[in-house]
Symmetry: D2
Subunit: 381 residues, 4 copies
């Protein structure tokens, strides 16, 4: 099976050069379900490009009959972010023009959907699938106003033009997978939304997940999922349990500016396994794997910020278990007040393990140093 490859105009730069998105679509026999996978929304988070590239290779080996639904893949989905450099480093976490984080710009239908109660009343009579279809139609109509705005003489800032493109491609998907990495050095984990979706988490074969118990709809995964979760809740309130077949995942595969092969493999295997579980891939002789995953609340992750300026030394390495009071790292801190350099020790507030560490050992006061994940340690393998 060969993918259909579509090249979409993104925007024109001052020089007259243009940036594009290139979409790879695998279309199965039936088009009942849609999977949307993108990577590299933040400029330094490149691992997902290899994951998508290997998925394209893998899907190309399949027969059309082995795919039920369609899979859209969008690697290097943010050219402005990916190509941005400052010194040798990929600084494209935020737009250098306006400072906006590329993953805090998305359009959240729930925020402007003021007739949800009404919608529920009108749709009580329908089955789940029709309800979803109707809700999607309504969302698309509201979303089309975004395009109208862009086409006005006053236009729209780049971030609105950009999100319009990504959300146009993904809004009608059933399963959205956005592949990120840490900006720093991190273990592999995923973000999971609460509800039915939690049951699917274990098919990604990733050890840890963060449960999105709070979300404001500005991130890509949130903007996709939040309206559907709101819809489910509204129906629940009136006593109707609908089965919304939508899931939104952010995979966090390893470290920024790196192409760690283990993280790539985990991404590829996990996504294939998940798609088999979801019935999108019908692979003969494939045995579905289910891996225990520890889902923790966002509150279990505590970031540590430098209490003063200096250089980090003797920091515990990734995955090290600590107990409250254990030394996490030292700062070698200089001064311009005539004193000798000092070494300052920073200790853990709680038990946990080292979840993420900064790439940069040089810190201004308030710079990020590491994150500790404080879960029930029995859960650790």
């Amino acid at each position: 099976m060969k993918p259909t490859i579509e090249t979409l105009n993104l925007f024109k730069l001052a020089s007259g050069d243009e940036f594009f998105l290139q979409l790879y679509q695998f279309i199965g026999k039936k088009r009942n379900k849609k999977v949307y996978i993108q990577s590299n929304l933040h400029g330094s988070e490149i691992v997902g490009n290899a994951v998508i590239s290997q998925l394209i290779d893998f899907l190309s080996t399949l027969k059309k009959s082995e795919l039920e639904g369609e899979i859209w893949l969008l690697p290097v989905c943010n050219p402005l972010g990916t190509n941005q450099r400052n010194h040798f480093f990929s600084s494209g976490r935020f737009n250098s023009y306006d400072g906006k984080d590329w993953n805090r710009i998305f359009w959240d239908y729930e925020k402007i959907c003021h007739n949800l109660d009404e919608f529920v009343q009108e749709n009580l009579k329908f089955d789940s699938l029709t309800i979803q279809e109707n809700f999607l139609q309504q969302q698309k109509i509201a979303f089309s106003k975004q395009l109208e705005k862009i086409n006005h003489p006053s236009g729209a800032p780049l971030f609105e033009q950009y999100r319009y493109q990504l959300q146009s491609l993904s809004m009608d998907a059933n399963y959205v997978i956005d592949i990120h990495s840490s900006s720093n050095q991190c273990i592999d984990y995923l973000f999971c939304f609460p509800g039915e979706q939690e049951n699917s988490a274990k098919y990604f074969q990733i050890d840890y997940g963060i449960l999105m118990d709070t979300y404001d709809g500005d991130a890509f995964d949130e903007a996709f999922m939040k309206p559907w979760l709101a819809l489910e809740k509204k129906f629940e309130k009136v006593g109707r349990k609908i089965n919304v077949d939508r899931e939104s995942w952010t995979l966090e595969l390893g470290s920024g500016m790196k192409m760690n092969p283990q993280s790539v493999t985990i991404g590829v295997k996990g996504i294939i396994n998940y798609l088999v579980k979801k019935g999108v891939l019908k692979l003969e002789h494939y045995s579905l794997i289910s891996n225990e995953i520890t889902l923790v609340s966002r509150q279990n992750i505590r970031n540590y910020y430098a209490p003063t300026g200096g250089m980090i030394q003797n920091r515990l390495s990734l995955k090290t278990r600590v107990q409250a009071g254990d030394k996490l790292y030292e700062i070698l801190s200089f001064n311009k007040r005539g004193y000798l350099p000092e070494v300052i020790q920073v200790c853990a507030e709680k038990d946990g393990f080292v979840f993420d560490v900064s790439t940069n050992y040089s810190v201004n006061q308030g710079d990020y140093v590491l994150a500790l994940c404080s879960i029930n340690l029995e859960h650790l393998c």
Copy 2:
């Protein structure tokens, strides 16, 4: 009268060097009222430093008896922002480390104040001044948790450490004035909160103001004022009109990276006149001036963004009046597809006048070009 000058440690950088805030305090006979004025929160918006410098000069000529209350002045209030350079330009609108806009980071008490109804019930018996005192106490207690957090081993990101300092200095003020400029090229105007404050706007001798009909509390002026406005409303709901003697102003004086002397003069004269009106300055033989000001809603300002990449030409200049359909500017747009360069015309959507224009005539698609203010044109002098 000489100011008390206090130098406050802000943070230590990786090199061991430190940044400071330097506060100039003029203390009158009575300390009944406090005015807090700061400038240069955004790195390129430097005009306010000259305004504060001239205010220091002016206040130094006064006798203690001419000042009723105290005036705190904090010029160059954001060293990291002010000193930031990229090429020859002041790029300090957002932190180059995390992309955060320096004026969207502040702590908004209302968001965490969950006992407001209770507070109102308990304080119904008191007079306005006591209510304010009690509310301020409660706010300060909540705020002190911020410091606790900073002092934990996990610390706090720089923006939390920074806002703690600025808000510590200003939280108990009656009148807060935050002096900004456009990042680009703009007329002088101010931001005014709705309510009693609107009556004071005309004393700044500025022709235009934007009425803050919506605000989320993240900006400095908002974070100061939002809890007080919430308090007023709650009391109103139970039928009690309290007179909250708090006002929060953002003055927008001219253009970024510039020291326009007219904008400086307007700032200095306007602030003095306002302080006389407020009874903080008791100047003999001073005749209070009141200048008509046009207060418009935020919705009256429409930004125009480049529909494609290229170079802006033939743009209307600041303050030009236009009618809907009038040409506002052209883009000379190049391409890399084998065609001749094109000239694209962009026209006004509504009647109005040119309120702000970009410093940079080179635009990527979606870059900002100008802002149009669409007010009832009869109001223009």
Copy 3:
């Protein structure tokens, strides 16, 4: 006459997007002479794009018979530089990856041409045209090693790949015109190489020129001209005066990030007039204009740098004449040592006029403030 438009692949970015050069060629009846004009080598210096666009329009109105030779035009010749943003500003003077100034990267044949004496001996017998042809051939052969290097597995840094493209297009030109602007705010002027070329300067209708009495070959205009000047000198040394029909110009048209229409007009008119003078354009009824130009040495331009940090105020405006000792500007300088702000005055070291001023009035110690041109003032019109 329509131009031939050629789109040349420049480089591929990490995202797989590509940047291009687009060349507009007007070919006359004879192809005896070649003119090469480019613009926007520094990202913020955009005026030349409008000049080239208007030249394309003008040349398109001509008949083939009115053009003797060929004119190659390359607007927006540096996509990486032009599209670079930091905050709202065009920061593309240097590459954000390696800090290299885009106009200090060029390949200077003279530096590697070790057989110049030999070449002169062998070519004494030829006429000027043949000598030039032979020298150009030799230069091209040496230059082709650059391409070989690029095509090696070890490749070449971006700047070498980039310069290869620009110099491939321009190396065999007779007249090279590179259109720049100030990064800051400046009058219109040009850079002129010494020798025969000085006589052509007055046809550009620009009031001032800087005579390139020293040059190291790293800038685009230098890299083109330096080998030819070296050749001329060598022949002169052996008593042979050859007439090298090569000229290299950098036009500095006005201010950065601006599209000043007067500067555009001066550029267009000046170039047309120059090309008529050079016999490339054969325009009936055209009266050649010759404008007095003041050519000064580089040493006549003195940059003033901030003696301390602060904000510039009361600076003299562009073109103001001064005498030694006159105040040029003030710095409003703050401190964090408990003192009042200070105003520091900076005075002219010599007589002259204000030639260029910084866009940014905020200065760290050592930041650029203005440039003074100290010429014999009688020369001023």
Copy 4:
């Protein structure tokens, strides 16, 4: 022995805050010889700060009698570079204001010393020490003009003010050690100047060194050493061999943005051992260590640049030996032309070993990927 700690004003920033240098001086009984050690000239190269900090600790344990001469230590010697951030990364290799590489700005006396022949003639009668003293005096007088220039109203750009400070502190040293790291990931090595100095290289206990067979005087180590090497040569030419007791070293300890403890230890031990060898440290019971070092020419190090944009994968790791033709790395390269992603293989041009690798696996065309050191492999241990 306690160090004398001196805090030197460096420059004032726009905000009125100041940056400082803090110098730690250990003064022995005799002051016959001076050692000058600095670190962190490039913002991301922080390892040397730990080296200096540990040297301060070590020297503090010595008795005054154990030190013959004086040792000046300057950690975090470039606050502007060290504190610079872009996203989470230390981007301070070049000044974000003017793009100048912080280690290509130094003042090279040889370039302006036009009376060297004359000096030699006049000093033939003196002994080596007197000649050095006289030459240093002459150099200092020339250098003092730099200060005069800085103190003129026109001042000097920041880099001239900065280099003046560093070179003032180091110019009269006998042994200069400038501690750097790779901006990327590298083995430990050193830069060594040719001549007598080569015999001292082995005392640093570092396996590799690059012999500075070409240098232009712009780097810190070069600016110090170049005039002395020129002096030696001039004397040699007239048949006099003088013993110039000056050495200049750049140690490259490991990787950027890191505090690798092995690199720190190597730096500390190597410097102590070297200072013992030089007779500056007189440590009882200390056995001098001499470690074989492989000194290679600069030409033996070949940088590999990305032939196209994409993501690096399967790259050989640091220190891996390769033979010409072996695969070094792959680029996973995307396109926007409707094709599948490609994998491009890049092979070694010569035998050698992987000397340095880029931190960033995302490459625009022409970005740096790795460096290969092609030495006679028998020399490898």
